[in-house]
């Protein structure tokens, strides 16, 4: 068994694979893929696809990588199916709460209002994104899951018989591995609230217990209901199991915002959820 971890996507990414030392090359390649996606989709890095979209003026066409385009397409699908509870265009709220730095530019010299992503950008053929109105997007609620899926694909194509990729709690188990997984207790994050064994599926969990802070006399966190910007600071955490980690990652925000473990979007993606 090989187990390694590197700092990417704002957290520690942990890769476990079955097999011995020769498998290291596959693990190194998987980390390389995660690093590439990190650079494409970072909110902070001014050279990323996301930063270029955020800086773009209305009507500007931005050429992005195929992976960025796929992440935005899936994000739009989840936004539509959740009635806007999940929306990558929620970044103005996070900037206002000082959870993200302001990406000011000539096109947006002042912070734009938070708008639904359908008003902010359109996806066009040929991996192009058309900016429609001033707005900032942040794919922090879906890109970790997408990067996990991409790393798994890389490991599988290298012939790794099984393993697990875990990006700070968003994880996917593949191949022959049966991986024990512990879900943190939101009330006491050092403790295990639930023990599961995963095989051939992904799971993601969202909770506010590590990102909560005081801002202008209100409790805020990195999580919010994108329909109205309401910060999610409940003591609960939402976990979603699905085939793809990107789907699980995005749906945890839908479940947390709506409090609904039977939300129709879950069944459409073949996912299940539980709250702790």
């Amino acid at each position: 068994m090989i187990r390694r971890a590197q700092p990417w996507l704002g957290t520690l990414v942990d890769i476990t694979v079955e097999g011995a030392w020769p498998g290291q090359d596959a693990v190194t390649a998987a980390f390389g893929e995660i690093a590439r996606l990190h650079r494409l989709m970072s909110f902070h890095d001014g050279a990323s696809d996301i930063a270029r979209i955020n800086r773009a003026a209305p009507d500007e066409l931005v050429q992005v990588d195929a992976d960025t385009w796929q992440v935005l397409r899936l994000a739009r699908e989840v936004t539509a199916l959740s009635g806007g509870a999940f929306d990558v265009a929620c970044a103005p709220y996070l900037v206002d709460r000082q959870l993200l730095p302001a990406p000011l530019s000539p096109a947006t010299p002042a912070a734009p209002a938070a708008r639904a992503s359908a008003e902010v950008f359109a996806l066009e053929d040929g991996c192009r994104v058309r900016k429609l109105a001033p707005g900032w997007i942040d794919v922090g609620g879906i890109a970790k899951g997408y990067a996990v899926d991409a790393a798994v694909a890389r490991l599988e194509s290298a012939g790794v018989p099984g393993g697990c990729v875990n990006a700070g709690g968003d994880l996917r188990v593949f191949g022959a591995m049966r991986a024990p997984v512990v879900v943190r207790s939101p009330a006491s994050p050092g403790r295990a609230a639930r023990h599961l064994v995963l095989c051939g599926e992904a799971m993601a969990t969202s909770g506010s217990y590590f990102s909560e802070r005081e801002h202008r006399a209100h409790r805020v966190s990195a999580l919010l209901d994108a329909r109205d910007g309401r910060p999610l600071v409940a003591t609960a955490s939402a976990s979603v199991r699905a085939a793809r980690c990107a789907v699980a990652d995005a749906l945890t925000k839908v479940v947390l915002a709506t409090g609904d473990c039977g939300h129709p979007a879950l069944a459409l993606f073949g996912a299940t959820a539980f709250l702790i």
């Binding site: 187990r3 590197q6 957290t11 190194t28 968003d170 024990p180 943190r184 939101p186 590590f210 990102s211």
Partner: protein, 178 residues
């Protein structure tokens, strides 16, 4: 409190469950970072006051330490690069990591060696922190990879590691660059 009663330490061990993982020993990390190397030489770096100031300016962070644990990687007489070992302490976590540095001081690779978290007061105890210093995977109660569950939960930020890597990049530029 200078001495911590043993009874208190063991009580913490029992009542405060700890999530931990041991990934690589320093020896495994250096071999991964410099697979073509045939020799590794320990060559610690001691920064003087002027160098510490330079590090702070370059990194935009306190230099924190004058002493750095550095291993040089060689193929024959040719220098391939360095590996710098460090630990960072966050609000809940203690992380031991290694940074591979090219001879021109650019960063080559970052590998986490060990991770341990605590949500109780013991993270401030020197004894708890000391257990990581300079440790390899040998002899610890943690076995590499084996028997450790994956954790699913809210994302814990790795700001302390990324700050640490930035500091090491500055140390490398000031004291190691050729």
């Amino acid at each position: 409190m200078r001495y911590v009663p043993l009874a208190l330490l063991s009580a913490c061990a029992v009542t405060a469950p700890v999530f931990a993982a041991q990934y690589l020993s320093p020896e495994q990390a250096q071999k991964l970072m410099f697979p073509e190397a045939d020799a590794f030489r320990v060559q610690p770096v001691a920064l003087d006051t002027a160098q510490m100031r330079q590090v702070e300016q370059l990194a935009g962070l306190p230099a924190r330490s004058a002493q750095w644990r550095v291993v040089g990687a060689y193929k024959g007489d040719a220098l391939l690069g360095y590996m710098v070992l460090d630990e960072v302490v966050g609000k809940f976590e203690l992380i031991s990591y290694a940074v591979g540095v090219n001879p021109d001081a650019s960063i080559r690779q970052v590998e986490i060696l060990a991770y341990r978290e605590s949500h109780g007061s013991e993270i401030r105890l020197p004894a708890w922190r000391r257990q990581f210093a300079g440790k390899s995977a040998r002899g610890g109660e943690l076995k590499i990879g084996a028997g450790i569950s994956n954790i699913s939960g809210a994302t814990l930020s790795c700001t302390h590691v990324t700050d640490g890597v930035r500091r090491i990049a500055a140390v490398a530029q000031v004291a190691l660059a050729r």
